[in-house]
Amino acid sequence: EKLFHNRDHSDVQNVNSHRAEVITDKYSAELFLSRYGFIMPVNWEEVQFEGSDASFNDDFLDNFQDLIQEGTSSQEFISALEEFQRVSGLPVTGLLDEATKLAMNKPRCGVPDKEIDLNAPVTPENIMVSISTDIHQSQAVRR
């Protein structure tokens, strides 16, 4: 039992439970943005069971890991950050500022904000293309 003293459990203490990793730097922010579909839309369609042969997901995971290992290009990261700031009603700075970190660390639903469009043919190349197209647009905006 989690330790508490008040009848309504309002003072429940999570002595031994682990805490979510706080988002403080670019790497953990990238993970957050990827997880919720801001860097690469997520296929949230299927129920994922442990050990299930979700070959479809492996493709994505491969891509996913590549992106993170090599590090998302700073442009991609900034675009994704701006999109997150926009939908969260934050000033769109493109910077991982305190307000953005605070918003990322809020309690939230685990369903991604950006999901893959199931009606489009799904190929990793296709998705990458769509991402790069996006980037061009944002650059144009910047210029």
Binding site: R19, A20, E46, Q48, S88, G89, R108, G110
Partner: protein, 424 residues
């Protein structure tokens, strides 16, 4: 690999389909849910958890044609929506929870909802922790097919906002879910404005009214200014109107004139008079009449059972409707008005030929909000031409019926809930 993918995806969609909108939606209207046994939270009693989920499902049912029923018996694969709590790696799901903070729950399209039991979930209005009701309404929204909606006030916002008072599904969210499942349609037994007199702190008497829609043994208070029913409706009839038949009435008539002020409920061959002051039917009214009374006794010449009735203040006549006939009853003379009964087409002629309910109507309702009479039948209504309309267009027939419209496009979100969810 593409073919494999296509078969993989199509196989998984068997339970749900893309609606015309392209979003995933259930094709069934009654959905079963269950809090699965190995997924109870360690923080709230099981009864509290089940009550909160029942309320959460009911809140979606109050704004959509969907009904939800808790099913603790059927084989699990027959249950449409399964809910459970877990921490870290949980319930065979490979989306591991992250512990306290950030992700507090997620939902899968096939109808599984998981809650992170490392979060501090609390009951409604606890004022602290994370409201399980709020999270449950949000995740059920996903299961029903709604994505994240960033609009302030939406229950589908991805980030948790501390509980404001009066957490409800707002207008835009209602439109979003009705975009997937359609609006709430259905017949009504009767519709009426209930008038009451109140005294202001300065001793003045003011007159207020509320609009009520009755269907079988349920009723909704309709808030005209907010274009929706009262939060938490429908309610069982016997809770709000003591003494009238629990399975519904045929009509409610308020005879209100300089000399009279009496509310009657009609059902079958009998009628009751309602005692507003004591909020129940009279056993014996101030005139010494004992209730229920026979309609033929109280309103000689009127044949019962009736379809419906309303009181027309202009002539102090009660119009009773039965099949294709209309009986106008002169209250002052206590007899049928001359020439009645008449065919409904003669009393209420169609303004547009062919556009007429042709009798057997469900409800006749004089609305103080619209200052107009409406005849309801099925999912449609016809508005009776009023004096103002006739002043503008004198060629319109007296008491003519304007072309019909849909009830649910005029009075919004009058939705059923599953009978097991009625008492919450």
């Amino acid at each position: 690999r593409k073919r494999h993918l296509a078969t993989l995806v199509s196989k998984n969609r068997r339970r749900r389909d893309l609606s015309e909108t392209g979003y995933m939606a259930f094709s069934k209207r009654v959905l079963k849910w269950r809090l699965i046994g190995e997924g109870y939270s360690s923080q709230l009693s099981v009864e509290d958890q089940r009550y909160i989920f029942r309320l959460a499902f009911r809140m979606w049912s109050e704004v959509s044609p969907l009904e939800f029923v808790e099913d603790t018996r059927s084989p699990l694969e027959d249950v449409d929506i399964r809910l459970g709590f877990g921490t870290g790696r949980h319930l065979g799901c490979n989306q591991r929870f992250d512990g306290t903070g950030q992700e507090f729950a997620h939902a899968w399209f096939l109808g599984d909802i998981h809650f992170d039991d490392d979060e501090h979930f609390t009951g409604p209005n606890a004022g602290s922790g994370i409201s399980l009701l709020k999270v449950a309404v949000h995740e059920i929204g996903h299961v029903l097919g709604l994505p994240h909606i960033y609009r302030p006030g939406s229950v589908m916002q991805p980030s948790y906002l501390p509980q404001e008072s009066g957490f409800e599904v707002d207008w835009m969210d209602r439109k979003a879910i009705q975009h997937l499942y359609g609006g709430c349609k259905g017949r009504f037994n009767t519709v009426f404005d209930w008038i009451r007199k109140e005294r202001t702190p300065y001793g003045e008497v003011v007159i207020r009214f509320n609009t009520y829609f009755l269907r079988d043994g349920w009723y909704w208070l309709y808030e005209n200014r907010k274009n929706r029913t009262r939060f938490g409706d429908p309610v069982a009839l016997q809770i709000g109107w003591r003494g009238i038949p629990m399975d519904g009435v045929d009509a409610c008539v308020h005879v209100w004139s300089r000399k009279r002020d009496a509310v009657y409920f009609f059902k079958g061959t009998q009628f009751w008079r309602y005692d507003n002051a004591n909020d129940q039917v009279f056993r014996q009214d101030p005139e010494g009449h004992r209730y229920p009374r026979l309609i033929s006794e109280g309103f000689p010449g009127v044949v019962s059972p009736i379809d419906t009735a309303f009181y027309d203040r202009r002539q102090s006549h009660i119009y009773f409707f039965k099949n294709t006939l209309v009986y106008a009853f002169d209250v002052e003379a206590n007899s049928l008005a001359r020439g009645f009964p008449k065919n409904i087409r003669d009393v209420f002629p169609a303004v547009e030929s062919g556009d007429h309910p042709d009798g057997n109507i469900d409800a006749a309702y004089f609305s103080y909000t619209h200052n107009a009479i409406f005849l309801l039948k099925g999912t449609r209504f016809w508005q009776v031409v009023g004096s103002h309309e006739r002043w503008r267009r004198p060629f319109l027939p007296r008491n003519g019926l304007l072309p019909h419209k849909e009830v649910d496009q005029h009075w919004f979100d009058i939705c059923n809930v599953h009978p097991t969810a009625l008492r919450l």
